[in-house]
């Protein structure tokens, strides 16, 4: 029993390490892109559309790493619950292992959904058309009036 718990403890340590690496990459890229963006913004350069699209990839990369960190948090939580349950009652080992397996599969599915949600449309180099939901677009309240057209 102790061996199983020890094995999962090692898995948790590895996952925590991956999480730390993710966080470090996020912070480093945030810092680097923040500096780059500040320069580009202040210089008021007329950047090609392709460069502005490239700058946005850091945001997408950041979201992807955050998504994988969320998945790691869920996995380590599930493993902690499992380790706790088998420590309390060795008879629950098989039952708990099944429950852990179910949780990990669910976490994987959720992580895949999140990956798709955070990917945007990076493959489409021309960009997507803006999707308007109504032919009547409110102009807002310029000079206190609301105009519909």
């Amino acid at each position: 029993m102790a061996d199983v718990s020890s094995l999962f403890s090692s898995v948790q340590d590895i996952l925590e390490h991956i999480k730390d690496v993710n966080q470090s990459v996020i912070e480093t890229s945030d810092s680097a892109f923040s500096e780059l963006n500040r320069y580009l913004s202040e210089a008021e350069l007329d950047l090609p559309d392709s460069v502005i699209r490239a700058l946005q990839m850091q945001d997408i990369l950041r979201q992807q790493l955050s998504g994988s960190t969320d998945a790691i948090n869920l996995i380590t939580k599930s493993i902690s619950q499992y380790r706790s349950s088998i420590t309390e009652d060795a008879g629950l080992l098989e039952q708990s292992l099944g429950a852990l397996d179910d949780k990990l599969k669910t976490t994987l599915e959720e992580a895949k959904v999140k990956k798709a949600a955070f990917s945007g449309d990076t493959e489409n180099e021309d960009g997507n058309d803006v999707e308007f939901f109504s032919k009547n677009i409110y102009k807002g309240k310029i000079d206190g009036e609301c105009t519909t057209y």
């Binding site: 699209r53 850091q58 990076t122 021309d126």
Partner: protein, 125 residues
Amino acid sequence: MSQPIVIFVDDSETALASTKIATQGLPIEVKQYISAGDALNDLNAGVVPSLIITDLNMPVMNGLEFLAALRQLPVTQKTPVLMLTTEKKEELKAEGKKLGLTGWIVKPFNPAQLKSAINRVLRLG
């Protein structure tokens, strides 16, 4: 006459910087916020936007919750709102439509299309 105010809300500084760079040259005043709460604070303090462009996936208050809050404020009840997000799910778009969302832009945006959308909504000519 003052320029129309366009508000951008995104929890990513890089995303905000990209929109700022992309909209340079347009006859608009850009205001940027790192959270929906910060934007709501300024709206409550008297800022009157002509257009709001917001991210969807943000901590504390997401884009749809922000949109719902905007529709409760007299000053932004009918202000056009565009969602600028990596999400493409039809269910989320439908939820936005119910709340009176004006349109949906998938990241990474094409700068020309973003400018065109702003021009279309504000009729900047």
